[in-house]
């Protein structure tokens, strides 16, 4: 028996050697049969990108990342910037449906507005990839953060930091109409349901606005100087939350947890300075790579739009004092744009 195994191993090794040696001996290449159809499937195709707005770290990062992956393959990458205007966004999606790009990459401002349009687009044979903020319609792919998980993890961290302290926390929400904010709040509620000892002294929407977040936090801190933690919903807004904590001289005493795209200046630098204690990053370059990968896969698969549906939730990177200094925890927009 033992002998037989050894013989088999010898044969296998010989065969392996032969396999490596054979082409070399023949001095001839082997055609890989799938790369040509792949290239053909992508060349000349149009991918349209409709973020809620350009000019902020997330959407700029996705844009740069996807462009870098797709343009060398001859994909035309188009952008429609509704600049925070939901109506303009819906119009852009509508006109795109008649222009028939191969793929639409959609960043939804809310759950409902685009839902019907996206369904129509897939019926027309356009693949729809929804990113970071999904809609009520499930399309070919969703690539993005799991907001419920973000709410849960941030709140768990705050609850942990509150152990043995006042158990008073505050919540700084984003804009009420945004799905990301509502989902995150659900995650917060999930954790709070398990911790009845935690008292929420304030839960207000700051409209993704740093100045408003600061004003609210200042007032809350004056009323509750023994506050032990704050759950913020976006690092771009929570700069204001952190500034209020710092001004009250409570940095380090009030645990500030937030989330964002992990851009170095907005995330790592602020964690290093002590402004944030935890920043859950949904690492934009990785997301962009996943988006590009999904586009490549869909286009080369030849599947009918809407016939397959899947999700790729982002693995979160918790940025804390421990890893804020590392090269890999955060990314630089300028590098991504190169």
């Amino acid at each position: 028996m033992k002998y037989a195994v050894r013989t088999a191993k010898v044969i296998a090794a010989t065969l392996g050697l032969a396999a490596i040696a054979a082409p070399a001996l023949a001095q001839q290449g082997l055609d890989e049969p799938f790369q040509k159809p792949f290239k053909e499937a992508l060349a000349g195709k149009t991918v349209a990108y409709v973020p809620v707005a350009m000019n902020f770290d997330l959407t700029e990062g996705w844009y740069a990342g996807m462009k870098k992956e797709l343009e060398p393959l001859g994909v035309k990458f188009e952008i429609r910037d509704p600049n925070w205007n939901t109506n303009a966004g819906a119009q852009a999606v509508t006109s795109l449906i008649s222009e028939k790009p191969a793929v639409m990459v959609i960043h939804n401002p809310d759950v409902q507005t685009y839902a019907k349009l996206l369904q129509r687009a897939e019926n027309e044979g356009i693949y729809v990839i929804q990113i970071n903020m999904g809609s009520a319609y499930r399309s070919s792919a969703f690539v993005g953060a799991n907001w419920i998980e973000i709410g849960e993890k941030d709140t768990e961290a705050v609850v942990k930091a509150c152990q043995g302290k006042s158990n008073k926390i505050a919540i700084v929400q984003g804009a009420l109409s945004a799905a990301a904010s509502a989902y995150t709040l659900k995650g917060v509620e999930n954790v709070l349901a398990k911790h009845p000892e935690i008292k929420v002294v304030s839960s207000q929407a700051a409209d993704w606005d740093a100045a408003k977040a600061k004003a609210i936090t200042q007032t809350v801190l004056k009323q509750n100087p023994d506050l032990c933690g704050i759950v913020g919903f976006w690092d771009g807004m929570d700069i204001g939350t952190a500034a209020a904590v710092k001004e009250a001289g409570l940095t380090g005493k009030v645990f500030v947890a937030t989330s964002g795209g992990g851009e170095r200046k907005g995330a790592c630098e602020l964690v290093k300075s002590g402004a944030f204690d935890l920043n859950l990053s949904y690492d934009v370059p990785t997301q962009a790579a996943q988006m590009a990968g999904t586009i490549k896969w869909l286009l080369s698969s030849g599947a009918k739009a809407g016939s397959i549906k899947g999700s790729e939730y982002t693995t979160l990177i918790p940025i804390t004092k421990e890893n804020a200094d590392s090269q890999t925890a955060c990314w630089n927009l300028s590098d991504l744009k190169k």
Binding site: A53, N55, F56, D57, E60, N83, W84, L176, V201, S202, S203, Q204, A205, D207, W208, D209, A210, A211, K214, A215, I216, Q218, T219, V220, K222, Q223, G236, I239, G240, A243, K246, E247, K265, G266, E269, L333
Partner: protein, 323 residues
């Protein structure tokens, strides 16, 4: 029998007093020195903007582009420093940009005679668009190391008083001086009261109007610097927010008639205090965002209605585009 008549300033002050008293009695933690300072600190930037708006409204104009002046030049300072320029050079560039912007506004309104509402609506969009398209890499311009020390403009305290309140106080004194102690200030009142009469009496009304918009833009830029310093970044997207309505609310609520020629710094202070008290009380009570907007909307509506009763439009001098 003598009829009792109040002017708007007195009404607003009475409302403020009642609200303040009610909050002090019923809201635990409202009437503490710390909360009072927070209250003022939270509305300091709004108050500074209110001063700029007051200047323009007294001269019978309106400056919708104020938020662009708040967002873009200070954002430019942060961006330039981030890109490695020195702080003084960046500040100078921003001030020059602001002055140029005020000049454009003023020229359009005084010489091209475009109604101020439309002129500033357009120029505000233009400046904000320019910022977004050409000046800033990202919506939120972050603080960088080169700005070290400058955050004191909006953070920390001076003699126990938060700096932003001190900045509001300084702006109040400067604007009060301009309006009450200089000839230029008197001209603004004259132009606001009756532009034609002012011109006939030999007041250089066009240059004064230009100056008015330049000063308003500069005050707006100053407010932006205080704001950026206080949150360690410049969220330039603030241009898309409803801040401008809050500014108009402060001015109208304080009793500066939109038909021009009336009011002063005191009105802005009263308007700011009322807004501050409202916002602070509602935050302590943890009222929802929608509820807060509802309350603000109702108060603005009441203020505008009161304003049109107490300061009726002057049929002889009113023109299209006036509000």
């Amino acid at each position: 029998m003598k009829r009792l008549r109040f002017n708007q300033q007195e009404i607003v002050f009475a409302v403020f007093a009642v609200l303040f008293l009610a909050f002090s009695i019923f809201l635990r933690g409202f009437l503490t020195p710390e909360n009072m300072l927070t209250l003022l600190q939270n509305v300091a930037v709004l108050g500074i903007l209110g001063l700029a708006m007051a200047l323009v409204v007294i001269g019978r104009g309106i400056d919708i582009s104020l938020i662009a002046a708040l967002a873009v030049p200070p954002g430019l300072v942060l961006q330039m420093v981030q890109n490695g320029h020195s702080l003084p050079a960046s500040l100078l560039t921003a001030v020059l940009l602001t002055i140029a912007f005020g000049l454009v506004n003023g020229w359009l309104i005084a010489y091209a005679e475009v109604p101020s509402l439309f002129a500033t609506l357009a120029t505000g969009l233009l400046l904000a668009g320019l910022g977004q398209a050409a000046l800033f890499q990202l919506d939120v311009v972050q603080w960088s190391d080169g700005m070290k020390g400058f955050e004191r403009l909006g953070q920390g305290t001076i003699a126990g008083i938060p700096t932003s309140i001190v900045m509001f106080a300084i702006a109040c004194v400067v604007v009060a001086f301009l309006l009450r102690q200089t000839r230029w200030g008197a001209y603004i009142y004259a132009i606001g009261d009756n532009p034609y009469a002012a011109r006939v009496t030999g007041i250089p009304s066009r240059p004064i109007i230009v100056l008015q918009y330049v000063v308003a833009a500069l005050i707006g830029c100053f407010a932006g610097l205080v704001m950026a310093a206080s949150v360690n970044s410049m969220p330039t997207r603030v241009f898309n927010s409803t801040l401008i309505y809050d500014v108009i609310l402060v001015v109208v609520l304080g009793g500066i008639g939109l038909s021009g020629g009336r009011g002063g710094v005191l009105n802005v202070i009263i308007g700011t205090l009322l807004i501050g008290t409202m916002l602070n009380g509602m935050t302590i009570m943890d009222i929802s965002y929608a509820g807060q907007n509802l309350v603000k909307g109702v108060v603005l509506l009441l203020a505008v209605i009161t304003d049109s009763f107490l300061n009726p439009r002057n049929e002889e001098t009113a023109q299209q585009g006036d509000i």
